[in-house]
Symmetry: C2
Subunit: 378 residues, 2 copies
Amino acid sequence: MKTPFNKPYLSGRETFYIEDAVKRGKISGNGVYTQKCQKFFEDKYGFSKCLLTTSCTAALEMAAILVEIEPGDEVIMPSYTFVSTANAFILRGAKIVFADSRSDHPNIDENSLESLITARTKAIVVVHYAGVACHMEPIMALAKQHDLFVIEDAAQAIDSYYTFADGTKKALGSIGHLAAFSFHETKNIISGEGGMLAVNDEQFAKRAEIIWEKGTNRSSFFRGEVDKYGWIDIGSSFLPSEIVAAFLWAQLENLEDIQRKRRAIWEAYHQQLASWALANGIKLPQIPNYATNNGHMFYLICKSLEQRTAVINHLKAHGILAVFHYLSLHKSLFYNERHDGRSLVNSDHFTDVLVRLPLYYELAVEEVIRVLREFKKP
Amino acid sequence: MKTPFNKPYLSGRETFYIEDAVKRGKISGNGVYTQKCQKFFEDKYGFSKCLLTTSCTAALEMAAILVEIEPGDEVIMPSYTFVSTANAFILRGAKIVFADSRSDHPNIDENSLESLITARTKAIVVVHYAGVACHMEPIMALAKQHDLFVIEDAAQAIDSYYTFADGTKKALGSIGHLAAFSFHETKNIISGEGGMLAVNDEQFAKRAEIIWEKGTNRSSFFRGEVDKYGWIDIGSSFLPSEIVAAFLWAQLENLEDIQRKRRAIWEAYHQQLASWALANGIKLPQIPNYATNNGHMFYLICKSLEQRTAVINHLKAHGILAVFHYLSLHKSLFYNERHDGRSLVNSDHFTDVLVRLPLYYELAVEEVIRVLREFKKP
């Protein structure tokens, strides 16, 4: 394909920092670059504690351990999401209760949540689709009322915000008790594979560090708080290599530039496709008043599966790769029989009609727009 | 410290391959370098299928999922090992039955295993300490007799072998049903953090790939075996970034050189410390007839905890960092109360008296030997 769907962006300093990490004699996890990245995120977005992880999946698994999911506990989350949102909790024995998306956005329908809460519900996982905030204020209020944890799957949501009714603006990932970010190569800020857990509720801070370090108090040991470290809890090796953190650091240095560029591409799509979309019965993404746009993703909501297929094929014929996204998890081979049978029409709708357009730093967006405008059927 | 315990080795081509991976437009998992590394290991060591992972811990977790550990299942493993050997199985609900080490080596005592097997035993995990083979032939026979899985924790055991009674020589990690390797910076071949699952029993090959890819049949999809991929099983994101795999590939290109160098350092320690050790009642590592030496680790077995402390302090006073190793897991804060109370004297002995000497590519080994020979008390 002449125009791929995604192309990883290199700031130019990545390998310099990797070589520096090697020269410092430490390329295993939790080195200088890991700590620099974590501090950057804490300072910029107001997360009380950040821990880099090998993936967003790993960060979600840490969250599932931290909220002490036990077999039979119920976790509410959207069906229109990536498998890891669910797997992380299933690995701890949770029953997943899938919620529908809003009719106007793939984000979870906040109004559908209350009826899904039972005595076994332990947590709500929200996914900020395309980096656009779920309606967090009513969700946090509902969670508080029912004593539930809220975990933000902020995989796509770096550098995006939510505004509360009183005007307070908070970064996505800083609102729930815990949040998970992704630095997968398809994200705004990348390290190939990679992720981060943001801990906002202080009660989880100390244990998060232990679980991250294979269930040991190694971090306390390095701070001189204990004189030898040992096995004190369950855990895994959630730390990424310093090679990964050094790469990520070079990206963070260029965050503003990357974000400016991605938002400009998004705006170009949005403005220049408006009349074409209207003429074809295609909807463009909307940003609610309480949300911001982080330029993560630009998608079209086609009027039918057939139209979406035609759009994808039209672009492909011109060397441009556009791709659909999630398949409703409640209908998957793995979960179909476990699902309670409720119909989730909006999730199924986005499964069929949503298509994502290329969006990356070096994209020649005008070319994609020009080709798309030639699409007139069916 | 003038002489650290470990220093990561850079072949010089690591960042070249990382840049190449970025230029190819793919730095997420399972790209060209991941596949090159996996093929290298399969071809060189006869593993039927290899999958790179984010850590050896992750590979052990994959093994625990693959053998379908369920709550209450028992897994036998040495107490003298890293926490991840146990955690990976505990996360799936296993009860760990800790075995003692041999009196002459930290490896699991093969003669102690039969008495630990119950109707709930599902697997035996062996750890090839210092890259030296456990006595695999009787262990495999016992496992076959009781229908148990054998998982090799080969974290330290790359490029090492076991010879069967009939003269057949097999690479460590190719003998059990599954095996886990580490590429942590302290290992022979490194990527900072990193690991690999080796699948030897064909029954696990297909599912291993699914679990590796978040429980999806994505790998089948990319091979064109299915027309779209979906959620079909539990799983996690066990794939490392291509950045990590590209780094590892540069190391593999230099495997022979690295191994020659490490074995030479080991031999220098072994030969030149022999009479000094004898005079001080210190034992040097021995390689059984059925095993090989991969130059991973050189350790001293002191005659007492006091002597070990004195050796460590003597070296430290000369700017050389030597470090003890595991603390018996059955006595850890986490597991002490869960342990069945059996005394594991050899494991506790190695906890107290084993000390590891620096061993890395650029080490000036003669200097460490010279300083050690000055040690004469207590």
